[in-house]
């Protein structure tokens, strides 16, 4: 299960990066990066997942003493949450950039923005 | 410092003898040349007449201070060179002022007159003078090279730079001469000798028709007289160095006269049978032939 998740996570990453590098349209690139980020998140979660364990919520079902043996690692999940937030921020920024670029340059093709080079 | 009057007297006497000897000898050499080509040639005392004639000129011009001093430098160079080299071996008095310096002094003092003359001639503003100087300087730098090497070789051979010591080492028979003990060095030196005597094939410096006699083209009257004096004195002074270094020196004035004449004739003989080199040709000549012999000389010692 965890392997499948991880595999699909990596597949999403590769897919996303492939998409980001092959699509010239800024919006498509942003979407592709979102896919890749999702893939990363999936990978993260899959790493933290331990088969047969329960969610890392300390309540009656999971007493504090035996928590370490019963729950899955909570840290990756926390990381994923953070990563999602950050991903959101970056995606928003990229979208803002795309908007601004389109407004100024009337183009969404990344290969049009090569005046800075060499 | 006390003045050594006898020594000065002897020096003056040396000068007198050598100038007169040079006057006669150069005339003689020209006469020989004339006879070879079937002419009668100049009179043996012609040099004296020319000298007096030049001094007796009534009008003179000057182009400036250096122009004026040029011949002075020139003659000082000749006289100095003669007096800095021991003339007659075995005589303290005929060694003149050789106490002031050794072989190195003689070698470098050669340039004193050249420098002054070049400066003086250049101040005349005559382009031919400048061209002649260019030629002369260009040629002499390379022509002197075999001599420098030969001198180095024999000073290594005799382990001294003292001319008197070098002559002393050659005494006791003709086969003690450097000519025989070190023929390669002698040969190298003779390249330089022929090259610096202002005779064909190395006389493009004073090419008379092309650049009317080159550096001295503006000189006349007493200037020319001084230079004429030097012209008979300087080659002999230089020949004396060669004589001392390679041909056993001279123990008396008679030997001196013979040897100087004989050595001098080497350049004459080479000159009469060779046409003139252009400057770059003579440079190449010395590099191609003179230099290897010189190198051989210092390698063989």
């Amino acid at each position: 299960m965890a392997e499948i998740a991880m595999m699909s996570g990596f597949a999403l990453i590769l897919l996303g990066i492939f998409g980001a590098l092959t699509n010239r349209n800024l919006l498509r690139m942003i979407v592709a990066f979102s896919i890749a980020s999702t893939g990363v998140n999936v990978v993260l979660v899959s790493i933290g997942y331990l088969p047969g364990r329960t969610a890392p919520i300390l309540d009656a079902a999971v007493p504090l003493e035996s928590a370490a043996a019963q729950i899955v690692d909570p840290v990756p999940q926390a990381l994923v949450l953070t990563a999602i937030v950050i991903g959101l921020g970056v995606t928003a920024l990229m979208l803002a950039y795309a908007y601004s670029l389109f407004r100024h340059r009337k183009s969404l093709d990344i290969s049009d923005f090569t005046e800075l080079k060499w | 410092m006390s003045i050594d009057w006898p020594r000065i007297g002897y020096a003056a006497l040396t000068l007198f003898i050598v100038i007169n000897y040079g006057m006669i000898m150069t005339a003689l050499v020209r006469k020989i040349g004339a006879r070879v080509s079937g002419r009668y040639g100049i009179r043996i005392y012609q040099n004296y007449i020319d000298l007096v004639k030049n001094i007796a000129l009534r009008s003179k011009i000057t182009h400036g201070v250096m122009y004026y001093l040029g011949p002075v430098f020139r003659l000082t160079g000749g006289v100095g060179l003669l007096l800095f080299v021991p003339t007659i071996y075995g005589s303290a008095m005929w060694s003149n002022f050789s106490f002031a310096g050794d072989l190195v002094l003689a070698l470098y003092f050669v340039f004193f007159g050249t420098l002054g003359m070049a400066l003086g001639a250049a101040e005349s503003g005559h382009p031919y003078s400048a061209i002649g100087i260019t030629r002369g300087l260009s040629q002499v730098t390379v022509a002197e090279l075999p001599l420098a090497l030969a001198v180095f070789a024999i000073s290594l051979q005799y382990q001294t730079l003292n001319i008197t010591d070098i002559v002393a080492a050659q005494q006791g028979g003709i086969f003690n001469w450097t000519l025989f003990t070190n023929p390669v060095a002698t040969l190298a030196a003779l390249f330089a000798f022929v090259g610096t005597m202002m005779r064909s094939p190395f006389d493009v410096v004073i090419a008379p028709q092309e650049i009317p006699i080159g550096p001295p083209t503006e000189y006349h009257s007493s200037y020319l007289a001084l230079m004429q004096t030097n012209r008979v004195l300087f080659p002999i002074a230089k020949t004396v160095i060669y004589m001392n270094l390679f041909f056993g020196g001279a123990t008396n004035w008679f030997e001196f006269a013979i040897k100087v004449f004989a050595i001098y004739m080497i350049s004459v003989l080479v000159g009469v049978v060779h046409p003139r080199f252009r400057v770059e040709q003579s440079i190449t000549f010395f590099l191609k032939w003179g230099l290897p012999v010189g190198v051989l000389a210092i390698l063989l010692v």
Partner: protein, 230 residues
Amino acid sequence: MKHMDPNFRKDTKTEFPQREELKPRKVTTPDGQVIDIEPLQDYFCQEPPKVHQKSYFKIVEDFYNWCRAESLWILAFGTGCGAIEMRPLMTPRFDAYRYGIQWRATPRQANLLMISGYLSVKTLKRAIRTYEQMQGPKYVVGLGSCTINGGMYWDSYNTIKKLEEYLPVDLYIAGCMPRPEALLAGFMELKKKIKAGNAEGANKYAEKFDWYKANQKAVIKDWDMPDYNW
């Protein structure tokens, strides 16, 4: 023989402009100052020639004259066809060297100017310059009829007729052309003249300088040099 053209180059109407390089000019110095250049004044000595006295002692002067006579240095300067007659003098056949005669390439060192044949006006200018650049005492020998009266160029429009009007001639050697033997004989005559103290051409030139200049300038229209070429 017909008479010489009395109107030889007497045309005074034509103006000859000053040579470009001799015109006064203004130049800017490196500091930006503008200065006047008068080439003739600035680049040439303007002194007239001087008359030189003989030596105080006659015996010295005689000795000097003997030396001058026995050491004739001829300027290697051929003006006309006579130049070709000079060359044999150096050969074994005539061997002028034995008389103390030598050739010099520069006027500074020569004291005998041979006008060897006809002298065109153009060459005259060079001859005058050369003569003036020689140091006195100096001698002029006219070679051939042309220097005496124009010879076969007697009616030429550009050949001067009487050399002595322009330069102080010490001796003429007649002939058209004189053979080298005649030249040698002429030299012997010149020597006699010098030894006798009569060859004072340089002083004569200085004394009658204005006369010579007037004659010279009368024929040389494009006079482009100082009056006396030191």
